[in-house]
């Protein structure tokens, strides 16, 4: 499975387009992490707990998108975009979308 955020992949030809595939994940903040982040916020700087949390959810969203692409018979997703939005207080939605394609190596 090839994932990229460019449109033309060096060394490959696009044989078939399947259109848009997407995956999302909505995560609420963990109470324990929230308390720790509250402490950390006193000094400022990076909130590592949240960085990890969002990375995990982004991986899950990407996995869902990949699953959708595989179900369509694609072997790659091109032009991938990430988006984040806060849907509810204390929760973030991580959203990833792209175009599922069948790629063929250039002869």
């Amino acid at each position: 499975m090839l994932l990229t955020n460019i449109e033309a992949i060096p060394g490959y030809r696009i044989r078939q387009h399947f259109g848009l595939v997407q995956g999302n994940s909505v995560r609420a903040k963990h109470a324990g992490r929230d308390i720790m982040a509250g402490f950390k916020n006193f000094f400022g700087g990076e909130l590592k707990g949240y960085t990890e949390l969002l990375n995990e959810s982004r991986e899950q969203a990407t996995q869902r998108m990949t699953d959708q692409a595989i179900a369509l018979g694609a072997n790659g997703v091109i032009n991938v975009r990430f988006a984040t939005s806060s849907v509810a207080p204390g929760a973030a939605e991580l959203f990833v979308y792209g175009t599922a394609v069948v790629l063929e190596a250039d002869a």
Partner: protein, 150 residues
């Protein structure tokens, strides 16, 4: 009276700690940027000739940045007068550079020496309507890692 003294002391501790943390962070950023100088980053889409994809080409780096107690306080005061919030500018710049460093490190780990079509996203992940909770922004950098023979 004692409450005011405690609040002022906390503000002072927060101000000193956050400026020390930020200064150290910038020193570390400079070092790591120098170490990663072989990984080039571009925001253009067109791959150079002879470039090839690495195994997992979609690479990303992210940072969640929290504002310190002191900065929140200063912002509340500056909110009355308006104008630039210089202390936020520097901390967000630091976070953005850190996100790019993580992106380059992820690319380097796969043997790539170039990342193209780099996008930077910023989003606020704080609770809305409740000032008592953590205010934070997430910076995400992502792009396509390539290997280009020299």
């Amino acid at each position: 009276m004692i409450e005011i003294a405690i609040a002022l002391l906390l503000l002072l501790v927060s101000a000193v700690a956050s400026s020390v943390i930020e200064r150290r962070h910038f020193v570390r950023i400079e070092q790591e940027e120098a170490q990663l100088s072989q990984v080039l980053i571009f925001n253009e889409k067109q791959p150079p000739p002879h470039a090839s994809l690495v195994k997992q080409s979609l690479v990303s780096g992210s940072v969640v940045l929290g504002a310190s107690y002191f900065k929140t306080f200063v912002t509340a005061i500056q909110g009355i007068f308006g104008g630039r919030l210089g202390h936020y500018e520097s901390s967000i710049e630091g976070a953005r550079r850190e996100a790019l460093i993580r992106l380059r490190r992820a690319a380097h780990a796969q043997g790539a020496n170039m990342v193209i079509n780099v996008r930077l996203e910023t989003s606020s992940i704080s609770k809305q309507g409740n000032k008592q909770t953590v205010g934070a922004v997430e910076i995400l950098a992502y792009g396509t890692a390539l290997h280009v023979p020299k």
